[in-house]
C-alpha cells in the first residue's frame, strides 16, 4: 500500500517543480524567435533585399549592425533571415520526425518476419544505415545540385539527411516494445494488430524521436546555414544566415567583423533557444 500512496505523490511533486517558474525562462528565447520570424520582416528599418547605403559601414545610429560589402543593412537582413531559417528548420523537423516515426514503426514491426515483407523491412533498415553513414552535408549538396536551391528543395534535402536517425531511434524502441506483455494482453482482449500498433506501439515507441526533434531542428538550421555558407543554399539577396556569414567572412579578416558576426550570433542563439525548448519539454529543467 505504501507504494500505491507514495508513487503518485512523488510524480505530482516532480510535475509541480517543472511547472511555471524558472523552468519557463528557457522558453523565452524561443518565443522571441517566433515573434521575430512572424513580425520581423515588417518591423525592420530597411529593406532586407536591397542596397540601402554605402558598403561596409560599421555599426552605428543609422545602421545598428552596419552594412555589408554590397551596402545592405545587416540588422534588417539578420532579422528577416529568421523567418527563412526557422521555416526550413520547422518543416524539416516535422517531416523528418513524422516520416521517421512511420518508417521506424513499419521496419521495427516487420523486420523479423519471414517472406517478402520481412526482407523489404530489413532492406529499408540497411538503407537507413547507409544514408546515415554518409555526411549530411554531402547528401544536401548532391540533392540541391539536382533540385536547385529553394526552400522546398532545401527542406527535402535536409529531411533526407535527418530522417534516418529518427527512424532508427523509433525502430530500436519498437523492437523493445514489441516484446512487452501488454501487447499480448491487448491481443487476448480482442485488439486487432492495427489497433494494437496505433494505440500501444506508436505512443510507447515514438518518444525518442519526439525528444530528439529539438536536436533535429537545431541540426536543420545549422545545415541550412552550412549549405548557404558553401554557396548552394538560398542565394543572395534572399536573407539567410549562412550566405550572410559567407559574404561577411572575407571582410572579417580585414577588420570588418560586423557583417559576419551578427548572423553567426543569431544562428548560435537560435540553436540555443531551440535546445531550450527540448530541455523544457523532455529534460530535467
Amino acid at each position: 500500500m505504501a507504494l500505491a500512496l507514495d508513487t503518485p505523490d512523488r510524480d505530482t511533486r516532480r510535475r509541480r517543480t517543472r511547472r511555471p517558474g524558472i523552468a519557463s525562462v528557457t522558453l523565452v528565447p524561443a518565443a522571441i524567435l517566433v515573434l521575430l520570424a512572424v513580425l520581423g520582416p515588417v518591423l525592420v528599418p530597411f529593406s532586407p533585399i536591397d542596397v540601402v547605403d554605402r558598403p561596409d559601414l560599421p555599426p552605428g545610429g543609422a545602421h545598428w549592425f552596419g552594412t555589408d560589402s554590397a551596402g545592405m543593412d545587416v540588422f534588417s537582413r539578420t532579422i528577416a533571415a529568421t523567418r527563412n531559417n526557422l521555416l526550413i528548420g520547422l518543416i524539416t523537423t516535422v517531416l523528418a520526425t513524422s516520416l521517421g516515426i512511420l518508417i521506424g514503426l513499419v521496419v521495427g514491426m516487420n523486420e523479423s518476419r519471414r517472406g517478402p515483407v520481412g526482407t523489404l523491412a530489413r532492406g529499408v533498415s540497411r538503407a537507413l544505415d547507409l544514408v546515415q553513414a554518409v555526411p549530411a552535408i554531402i547528401i544536401g549538396l548532391v540533392l540541391i545540385a539536382f533540385f536547385g536551391a529553394s526552400i522546398p528543395s532545401l527542406t527535402v534535402a535536409l529531411t533526407v539527411c535527418l530522417l534516418p536517425n529518427q527512424a532508427r531511434l523509433v525502430r530500436a524502441e519498437v523492437l523493445r516494445v514489441r516484446g512487452e506483455a501488454y501487447l499480448d494482453a491487448a491481443r487476448v482482449s480482442g485488439d486487432s494488430e492495427l489497433v494494437l500498433i496505433a494505440k500501444h506501439v506508436l505512443p510507447n515507441s515514438s518518444w525518442p524521436a519526439l525528444e530528439n526533434a529539438s536536436l533535429v531542428f537545431g541540426s536543420a538550421i545549422v545545415l541550412t546555414a552550412g549549405l548557404g555558407f558553401l554557396g548552394v543554399g538560398l542565394h543572395p539577396p534572399t536573407p539567410e544566415w549562412g550566405s550572410m556569414i559567407a559574404i561577411g567572412a572575407p571582410g572579417a579578416a580585414s577588420g570588418r567583423w560586423w557583417s559576419a558576426l551578427f548572423p553567426a550570433v543569431a544562428l548560435a542563439l537560435t540553436v540555443f533557444a531551440v535546445s531550450g525548448v527540448g530541455r523544457r519539454l523532455f529534460g530535467d529543467d
Partner: protein, 260 residues
C-alpha cells in the same frame, strides 16, 4: 458453457542465429477443458510459456495442432477468434509489464468489454466495477496508471481483466510467482473460488510446485519441452513415476517441511 482446447502432437521449433533449431515444445498432447483445474509445472525453459502462448492463439505450432472446440486456432476467422477470446482469457506473468504504462487500468479493462462483449462505455464501466468489487478492489483505483498501484493490486487488476468477460477457461502464466507469499495466498484463493463458483476451468502454469499443487486438480509435469508425467495431483505427488517429477517433489518437501 463448456470449452475444450486440444493439443495434438504439438511441436514448436525456434530458429536461432546461424539457423540452429531448438524445439521449445516437442510432441505435446494436452486436453484442457472448462471442468478442470489443470496445473502445468516445470523448470524455466521447459516449454510452459510456449504452451501458454499456443493455448491462447498468440503463437502457432510448427507441427501438430491446437484446436478449440475442434477448430484449429491457427486458421480461425476473426469472428471465431473473438468468440474464442471471449471464452479463454489470460492472467499474465509479469504484472509490471502486462499493462500499458501510458493508459489507466480502467482503459485496459474496457478493452475486453468493448471488443469481446461489445458493451458501450457505460455498460463496460458497470461490468468493470462489479468485477473489481468482487475481487475486493476499490473501483476508484482503476483511474490510476499501472505504476500507481501496488504489485498485489496490479495482479488483481490482471485477474479482473480476465474475469470481466466471464470466461470459461482462465489461463494463468506464472500468475503469482512475482508476489510475496501472503499476497500469493489471497490470489490463489480468489482464483479457486471463482472457478468453483462459476464452473470455469483453470490452467495454472508455474515453476513452483506448492502453488500449483494447491490450486490444481490435475497436474502435468513438463521437462525439456515434453510432458513427462500427468495425472491427479495426489497421484503425481505421492506415486511419482518420472525422476524429474521426483526431484520437484523432493524440493517441495524440503521447502515446505513435509516429511518424505
Amino acid at each position: 458453457m463448456s470449452a475444450t482446447i486440444q493439443f495434438t502432437d504439438v511441436r514448436r521449433v525456434f530458429r536461432g542465429r546461424g539457423g540452429a533449431e531448438h524445439a521449445a515444445v516437442d510432441g505435446v498432447d494436452l486436453l484442457v477443458d472448462s471442468s478442470t483445474r489443470l496445473g502445468i509445472v516445470g523448470e524455466s525453459g521447459s516449454g510452459k510459456s510456449t504452451v501458454v502462448r499456443m493455448m491462447l492463439g498468440l503463437d502457432h505450432p510448427t507441427a501438430g495442432s491446437v484446436e478449440f472446440d475442434g477448430v484449429p486456432l491457427a486458421s480461425m476467422s476473426a469472428p471465431a477468434l473473438r468468440a474464442f477470446r471471449r471464452q479463454v482469457q489470460l492472467v499474465a506473468q509479469d504484472t509490471s509489464s502486462s499493462f500499458d504504462p501510458r493508459r489507466t487500468l480502467r482503459d485496459a479493462l474496457r478493452k475486453p468489454c468493448h471488443n469481446l462483449l461489445e458493451l458501450d462505455t457505460a455498460a463496460a464501466d458497470a461490468a468493470i466495477d462489479r468485477t473489481l468489487e468482487a475481487l475486493s478492489l476499490d473501483p476508484a483505483l482503476a483511474a490510476r496508471k499501472p505504476h500507481q498501484v501496488s504489485g498485489g493490486q496490479r495482479q488483481r487488476f490482471s485477474i479482473a481483466r480476465a474475469l470481466v468477460v466471464e470466461p470459461t477457461v482462465i489461463v494463468c502464466d506464472e500468475a503469482v510467482s512475482a508476489l510475496d507469499v501472503s499476497v500469493q495466498g489471497s490470489v490463489l484463493n480468489l482464483l479457486k473460488e471463482h472457478c468453483e463458483n462459476h464452473d470455469a476451468g483453470l490452467v495454472f502454469v508455474s515453476h513452483g510446485l506448492p502453488a500449483t499443487a494447491f490450486i490444481s486438480e490435475e497436474l502435468v509435469v513438463m521437462y525439456q519441452g515434453r510432458v513427462v508425467e500427468r495425472g491427479p495431483v495426489g497421484r503425481v505427488l505421492f506415486e511419482t513415476e518420472h525422476p524429474y517429477t521426483q526431484t520437484l517433489v523432493d524440493a517441495y518437501r524440503v521447502t515446505e517441511g513435509v516429511p518424505s
